[in-house]
Amino acid sequence: MLRLTIKNLLDKKIRFALTTLAVVVGVAMVVGVFAMTDSLRSSFSQLAEDISEATPLTVRTSQEVGREIDRDPVPAAVDEVVRSIEGVEDTVPGVAAFNVVITDGAGEAILPTGPPTLGFSWTPLQFFITDGAVPAGSGEFAADSSTAADNDLQIGSTYVISGPIEQVEFELVGIFNFGAPDKHTTLGQTMAAFEIGVAQEFFGLEDRYSSIGVLLDPGTDTAEVQGRIQEAIGRDYEAVTDEVIEEETTDDINEVIDVFNIILLVFAFIIVFVSAFIINNTFQIVVAQRIRELGLLRAIGATGSQVRNSVIFEALLVGLFSTITGLVLGRFLAGGMRWMLNQGGFSLPTGPLELQPRTVVWAVVVGMGVTLLSSIIPARRARTISPIAAIQSDQQLAGASLRRRLVIGGVVTGIGFLLLLVGLFGSLDTSATLSLVGFGAFLVFIGMNTLAPSFARPAALLIGRPIARILGTPGQIARGNAARTPRRTASTAAALMIGLALVGMAGVVGSSLTKSFLNTLDDAVQSDYFIRSDSGGFDPSVGFSEEVAAEIEALPEFDTVVAYRFAIGSMRIEGSNHDVFTADFELVESHMDADIITGSLSDADAAFAIALHEDSAEDLGVVVGDTLDATFPDNGTDTLTVVAVYRDATIFGNWLIDNDTWERHFSRREIGFASATITGFSDDLPEAEQARLQAGAAEAIAPLGQQFPGVKMESRVEFRQSQQDQLNSFLIVITVLLGLSLVIALIGIANTLGLAIFERTREIGLIRAVGMTRWQLALTIFGEAVIVAIFGAILGLSLGVVFGVAVVIAIPDSVINAISVPYLTLLVYLVIAGFAGMLAALLPAFRAGRLNILDAISHE
């Protein structure tokens, strides 16, 4: 039996190759993702260790609220205290800032997409000059080696650098490596380093340090010195060991890598899931085709279990082969992914790619598991084949009856939807929501796959009608072929369904997001100009210098400018930390309309005021006039008066404070976003007058755009367009990634068609004998592929719309408040699916065309 199974596999090399390919891609994805992220992790934790080891202790401000980015600086006086403590050899105080943007020689801002633009005070412990000199005086800076090389920065040249407060010209005096003298490690960020006094002034941190590194006298006990320092500096500040710093740094980096890891793994598992459909389908068909042969085995004395085991053994071989190939390919894939990321602006360390035991275990679980699971049902069917099948020609495998299928499929789909809804609308934490939604969607797909065969026949006939009309007789035969094996048509289509459901869902969510944004812009935003950093993203660490807002405000063509800032989890009220927005209360009502229910922003004593969303007000049980105690990252607490409660959370989120309050408690000076109004502009003016004012404003602001190259200053129309473009390009990336699963589904279509053609060899021989040309035969196969693909696409896109609408309803109104189904886009996906089906049919069509007619006719 064993030898027979192996011979069988070797006999059908192409089928074997295609079946394995589907699993191999899935395994390789999983392995590649793990291998790459593992090697990233180990490189960066090595880097974190190298850096933090340089100073055994670090002194900094204690922080209870907010993120590391908003940790309050240490007064210079603390450094004096630390320096004087017994056992401290020396201190290395330093400052750091985000949004320090270098302008290159061509006047373009150097803004990586994603990674930050950082500024530092020079420290010989982490920076290693490769060329030039250490920046020593005012007007000098050094740049990291990859930023300098990528942007052709020359030592001796002068470059404009935009800081948190203003823009200043500096001369490049040195180029350095970060982390090690001979190796520069970076995630793509740009780094500019200055002499510490220069940096303090430039970052707006005079007489303060971001942190103070502590060097110890030789032979002193670290813990002892730590205790002495802590005692001297009091509870507002803390002395921490290099292990703590290393751990924090590693955690920060791992947080980024984890997100990355999870996203890629989700895509990998989608691919694995789709491949499971394909393998299952292939085994089903193969068992059905070998029914006579298996019957013969039974007739000559093989037991039912032996027949079943031979199918399982075949699956085992496919699984084993796929796992090994996937492991090997996965390592290459990891290298490929890293290379692609490096091409895309990252400078990831090219350390060895690791295959951790965990990765190998996953590869085996995915490769063997998926294949074996997929073969269970076909193997059980094979067991029931009777010896009589060897003699009877029209033996059919007993499948689940239509009624049972409807019941089981319906129940599974129902449970899936139920889990999905509970996940989306139950108030659960993120991981529970994600697992419920994921598992729910998984069940829906399985359920639909069970249901689909019961309506695949009429569906294929319906979809085939126009195809039969267009293609004539070949189309008609294609239509009949697609309809005659509803099970097969359905499960082939189901593989495609999954990918398109996800793509369709992303389309609905993306389109709803765009629509929500445009609604807000049109209904709630009155300002005429929008100022943002060119690096895109709504990251709180992205911003531009305060100077920009002041310069715009100074232009007579502009009336008022409102600056906005944002921090995550940086305001503690009644024990919980909240994300906080800032604005200029006095002016903001003429810029943004958050639909204020009670109170007013402009009448308030802004410096000690807070406005909140109606939900937050209700949760806290406060109304206008009540006060709230709010604690900020500098550990300072203010008593803020509630001055307004608003209904629309899309603009300011749930919590809004004034910029004055921010400036008391946050050291970060740069602005996240700003809006401006044009002097004298009103929607009531005649159109010509409106146009004149807009043109005047555009002309006046243009030189500022030149002056601040990293900052986008857009009119309403431009802003609308650029935001839409940004959402669209994000959507395209997601769609392309999800589209990968379509490629696997196409392998499925090719596989099924190949098997079907093998099964219909005699029919093809006959039809060619009576005069069908090769081209017409190809059309027949294309037609069938298109019908299957469109059937899968319709199933998938319909599910996608349902999923998408559910997700949109579940997402808080502050993010998405409108439902929009992008019908045209969905139609385009449908057409693409049709063409993709034809692509999948190319090889089978070619093979069918090459069949020898005589051999085909006499084929058994």
């Binding site: 004539g472 007789t473 070949p474 008609q476 035969i477 239509r479 009949g480 072929n481 309809a483 005659r484 005699r762 029919e763 006959l766 039809i767 060619r768 004998a769 009576v770 005069g771 069908m772 040309t773 090769r774 017409q776 007619i853 005589l854 006719i857």
Partner: protein
């Protein structure tokens, strides 16, 4: 037609030639292992005649038919269908020739399962994009007695009915010549007789041309003429055969 000089295959009546083999050899393999499936065969088949090709297994009768029908290529010599030399045709031209000028009936598996009987009958014309001559198709269907079954699919028809559909398809496009490969091989004798009777009527009454390969003397006796093949050579022929005379010849061949 001086090419067709050889005595055997020349008809007594001077009718037109529908198809002919001239010096045809079909060799499989080469060198010492070469097998001569057909060995220098000359034969012609007249229009309006029902010809049977007989011979024991391995005599080359099916190969000859396949070559005549453009399904297989010859090693030497040439095949003529009407005035067309098949060796000069491309694969595509051969396909179109089969579609437009030749009809086929195979032993079994004659029909496309997804098409109705009527769709199967008109398949070659549909593939060509031609409108069938409905009067003629009706006449064919009527003659084989399929009137009430044309909208059925093959799996709803009996074996005999399926062969009738196959014969109807072969005749429906009024081809120059119909090739039948053991058309009754899978049928019981009564049903087989009906098919053969119909084929004979198609030739006699509807002026069709049929070449049938068979090893069944009874089936061959429906033909106007029987050509005997053995070891790739034409060894005998007979006009107005009866089962007995055929059987005698076959027995002689066996010796």
């Amino acid at each position: 037609m001086t090419l067709l000089a050889p005595p055997i295959g020349t008809a007594p009546a001077a009718a037109g030639i529908a198809a002919a083999a001239v010096g045809v050899s079909k060799i499989y393999g080469h060198g010492d292992t070469a097998v001569h499936a057909l060995d220098e065969i000359d034969a012609s088949f007249q229009s309006g005649r029902f010809t049977a090709i007989m011979g024991p297994s391995g005599s080359g009768k099916s190969t000859l038919m396949h070559c005549l029908a453009g399904l297989d290529t010859v090693s030497h010599g040439s095949i003529l269908v009407g005035d067309t030399d098949l060796s000069t045709l491309s694969e595509r031209e051969l396909t179109l020739l089969r579609r437009d000028r030749i009809g086929f009936v195979f032993q079994s598996f004659n029909l496309v399962p997804t098409l109705t009987a009527m769709e199967n009958i008109t398949l070659p014309m549909d593939l060509a994009g031609r409108t069938p001559d409905q009067a003629w198709v009706d006449e064919v269907i009527n003659t084989v007695g399929l009137d009430d079954r044309t909208s059925h699919r093959p799996n709803e028809l009996s074996g005999g009915q399926q062969q009738r559909v196959a014969v109807s398809r072969a005749l429906a496009s009024q081809p120059e010549i119909v090739f039948a490969d053991e058309p009754t091989g899978n049928l019981d004798s009564t049903t087989g007789a009906e098919i053969l009777e119909f084929m004979r009527r198609a030739v006699r009454e509807m002026d069709q041309t049929i070449v049938m390969v068979t090893h069944d003397p009874n089936a061959a006796s429906y033909a106007d003429r029987v050509v005997f093949l053995n070891d790739g050579k034409i060894v005998d022929e007979m006009f107005e055969p009866t089962p007995d005379t055929i059987l005698d010849t076959m027995k002689a061949l066996g010796n």
